[in-house]
Amino acid sequence: MFLTVLVFALIAVVAGALLGFVAQRYRVEGDPVADRIDALLPQTQCGQCEFAGCRPYAEAIAAGEVEINRCVPGGDAVIVELATLLDRDVVPLAEEGIPPPPMVAVIREEHCIGCTKCIQACPVDAILGRAKRMHTVIADECTGCELCLPPCPVDCIDMVTVPETVDNWHWPRPDELSA
C-alpha cells in the first residue's frame, strides 16, 4: 500500500517536473493561431472589420471574440479559408455587397496643402511628403484602405481602380467568357 502510493507520487513528481521543463524550454513566442489567421488576411489594414488593422482582427478571431465574416476586402474567399483553418462554419459577409475591385489612392497634387494628416493616417506608410510640401502616394505600396480620405481637409484624394495593363491581365475563365 505504502509502496504503491510512493511509486505513484514519484511518477507524478517526475512527470510534473518534465512537463514544467518542456513548457519552459519549448515555449512558443506569440500566438501561432493568430499568426496563421493573419497570414490569410489581405493586409489592407483598412479597419473595416472595426479593428485597428489585420493583426488585431486576427488576434480577436483567435481568442474567439468575433465572427470570421468581417473582412470586406477579403470577401468570401477569405471567409472560406478561415473556416477551413479554424474548422468553423462558412458564414456570409457581415457587410452587404460584393468586395470592391482593387483600388489605389491618388492625391490631386495641385490641391494638396501639405498638412501631413493623410501621412499620419496611412497604416502602411505609403504616402510621402512633409509639412507644407506636396504629398504623393506610392501606388505600389497603397493597399486601397481609404483611411487617408476622411482626414484630408481639402478632399484632394481620389480612389481609382488599378488599371488593367498587359502586365496584370490574364485569360478569363472560358465559361465566364461566354456567359
Binding site: 502602411v124 506608410d125 495593363t165 490574364h170 485569360w171 461566354s178
Partner: protein, 505 residues
C-alpha cells in the same frame, strides 16, 4: 527506328499554301511601331527621345536587367515618340511602343539574302558569341521570344551534349521555318556551328517534319555537299512535335523534369530562324531588325512567306499578299491551334510574330456549345505533356487551383490545344488551363503584396510604439530633474531657515 511523338494528334498542316511563292520583302512603310516588350522578361528601356535621328541597326532601346533584350532601328528614321499603341497581346490592350517615321528613301539596304558556305565562317570564342547575340537583341523566333543570350548562358553553366535546331513549324498553317530552310539553309547551318561552339555541344541535330518533301531533299543535298556535321532528323509530321520539351523527348529519349529546363537533361533547343539570326549577328554584326512571317489562311489573296521589318503594321503585310478575300472574317497571330485572335490589323510585326492567319467562316467551328465531360479519356491519351486533363479541369472548375498546381502539375501544360481538338464534348480545356495559370500567378502576386503590407504595417506600429516610449522616457526624466531641483531648493530653503533661526537664538 524512327523517333516520333507518340501522343499528340495528326493534323493537316496546310504546308502547301504559303510555300508556292518565294520569300519576298515587304516594302518599308512610313511609320514603324516597336513595342518595348517583345520578349519574355523586363521590357526594354528607350535610349532615344522624340525627334532623334536614328540609323538602321542603331540601338534604340536597351536591355534592362539580365532577362531582357534590346531593340534596334529597322531603317534610317526619326523618332516620333514613345506612345501607348495596340500590341500583339491576347488582351487587346495597348502597350508602350517606340514610334519611328522612316526617312524618305529608307530601304532594306543593298545586301540581299546570300548563299553561305557554313564551313567557311570564322567562329569566335563562346563568350564573344554570347555577347554579340545579346547586343543584337536576339530572342527565340519560334514564338516563345525568350532572350537567346540568356539561354546560351544557362547552356554554358551546365554541360549540353545535344544541340537541337528546331525546323518543325510549330503549328498548322505556319510555313516560315520551312521557307527559311528551303531558301537559306546555309545561314541556318552556319548558325548551328556558332551555337554549337558557344555551348560546346557534342552533337547538333536539325529536326524537321516529313510533310515538306522539297525542303527535306534540299537540306539533305546541302548537308551532303558541305559535309556538315549537323545530323538531319526527319520526323513524321505530328502535332506538337515542334514543342521544345516534346522535341527533346523525341530526339534524345530523355524527359525534361517537371518545371525543369532542357539543360537539366543536357539538351538545348533553338529555332531555325534564331540560328539564322545568330549567324547574321555574329558574322555580319546585323542586329535583329526583321523576321520571316508566314501570311496564310483561306482568307488571304496570295498566301506566302514574307520577310518584314519589325514594326511594320500587319495591314501592310496583308496588302502585300493580295489583300483579304471577301469572306475573310478574322485575324489570328500564330497558328490554328494556339494562335491569338487579333482585334485589329494596326498591330505591328514583332520578334515573336511567326504567322498571320486570315480566317473565313468555314474555318471556325466554335458554334457547338460546351457539353458535360463524359470522362472518355481522349484528352489524356493525346496530351503531349502526359498530364491528366480531366482531373485538372474538374479541379479548376471547383476552384481548387492549389491542388491543380501542386499535385497535378498544371504548370507543365504547354497549352497546345490537343485536348480541345479531340474532346467530343467540345470543352475548351486549354482555355481553362490558361485561365488557371494566370489566376495562380495573380494570387501569388497578391500574397507578395500582402506580405509587404504586413511588414510595413508592423514597422509603423513599432515606430509609433517606440516614439511613444521615447516621449514618456523624456517626460519622466524631465519630471525627475524638476523634482530633484524642487527638492534641492526646498532643502536650501530649510537650511536657510535653520540658519536664520540659529542667528535669532
Amino acid at each position: 527506328m524512327t523517333a516520333m511523338l507518340t501522343s499528340g494528334i495528326v493534323v493537316n498542316g496546310y504546308r502547301d499554301m504559303a510555300t508556292r511563292l518565294p520569300v519576298a520583302r515587304v516594302p518599308v512603310c512610313s511609320e514603324l511601331v516597336l513595342p518595348l516588350q517583345q520578349h519574355i522578361g523586363t521590357p526594354a528601356e528607350p535610349v532615344v527621345g522624340s525627334g532623334d535621328r536614328v540609323v538602321r541597326g542603331q540601338l534604340i532601346a536597351r536591355a534592362r536587367g539580365f532577362v531582357s533584350a534590346g531593340l534596334h532601328a529597322p531603317v534610317n528614321a526619326v523618332v516620333l515618340g514613345i506612345e501607348c499603341r495596340p500590341v500583339p497581346h491576347p488582351s487587346g490592350l495597348n502597350g508602350l511602343c517606340l514610334v519611328l517615321a522612316a526617312e524618305d528613301g529608307a530601304d532594306w539596304g543593298s545586301a540581299g539574302p546570300e548563299v553561305v558556305d557554313p564551313n567557311s565562317i570564322a567562329i569566335p570564342e563562346p563568350d564573344i558569341i554570347r555577347m554579340m547575340v545579346r547586343q543584337a537583341g536576339i530572342v527565340g523566333l519560334g514564338g516563345a521570344t525568350f532572350p537567346t543570350s540568356v539561354k546560351i548562358k544557362s547552356g554554358m553553366s551546365q554541360p549540353v551534349d545535344t544541340l537541337i535546331i528546331n525546323g518543325c513549324d510549330c503549328e498548322p498553317w505556319i510555313s516560315c521555318d520551312e521557307m527559311l530552310l528551303r531558301e537559306r539553309p546555309g545561314q541556318v547551318l552556319a548558325g548551328c556551328h556558332l551555337l554549337r561552339q558557344s555551348l560546346a555541344a557534342d552533337r547538333c541535330v536539325l529536326a524537321v517534319e516529313d510533310d515538306a518533301p522539297e525542303m527535306v531533299a534540299g537540306l539533305q543535298q546541302v548537308i551532303a555537299d558541305c559535309n556538315s556535321p549537323v545530323r538531319l532528323e526527319v520526323l513524321p509530321a505530328r502535332y506538337p512535335s515542334g514543342s521544345e520539351k516534346q522535341l527533346i523527348h523525341i530526339i534524345t529519349g530523355k524527359e525534361v523534369p517537371s518545371q525543369g529546363l532542357p539543360v537539366d537533361v543536357g539538351a538545348a533547343v533553338y529555332n531555325a530562324g534564331t540560328a539564322a539570326a545568330v549567324y547574321q549577328a555574329v558574322v555580319h554584326e546585323v542586329p535583329l531588325i526583321s523576321r520571316l512571317v508566314s501570311v496564310s489562311g483561306p482568307g488571304i489573296g496570295r498566301p506566302r512567306v514574307v520577310e518584314a521589318l519589325l514594326g511594320t503594321p500587319v495591314s501592310e503585310l496583308l496588302r502585300f499578299c493580295g489583300g483579304r478575300t471577301a469572306d475573310a472574317n478574322g485575324l489570328i497571330m500564330g497558328g490554328a491551334m494556339m494562335g491569338l485572335g487579333l482585334a485589329s490589323d494596326e498591330i505591328p510585326v514583332t520578334k515573336g510574330m511567326n504567322s498571320i492567319l486570315v480566317t473565313t467562316p468555314a474555318m471556325s467551328q466554335d458554334a457547338q456549345g460546351e457539353m458535360p465531360c463524359i470522362r472518355c479519356g481522349e484528352c489524356a491519351r493525346v496530351c503531349p505533356a502526359r498530364l491528366a486533363p480531366q482531373q485538372l479541369l474538374s479541379l479548376i472548375r471547383n476552384g481548387d487551383l492549389e491542388q491543380a498546381q501542386q499535385r497535378w502539375a498544371l504548370e507543365d501544360c504547354i497549352e497546345c490545344g490537343c485536348c480541345n481538338a479531340v474532346c467530343p464534348s467540345h470543352i475548351p480545356l486549354a482555355g481553362y488551363y490558361r485561365y488557371a495559370k494566370g489566376e495562380i500567378r495573380k494570387q501569388g502576386k497578391a500574397r507578395v503584396k500582402a506580405q509587404q503590407a504586413r511588414q510595413r504595417y508592423e514597422f509603423r506600429m513599432e515606430r509609433i510604439e517606440r516614439a511613444k516610449r521615447e516621449r514618456e522616457e523624456k517626460l519622466r526624466k524631465k519630471k525627475e530633474a524638476l523634482q530633484a531641483a524642487n527638492k534641492a531648493r526646498a532643502r536650501a530653503a530649510m537650511a536657510e531657515e535653520a540658519r536664520s533661526f540659529e542667528d535669532e537664538m
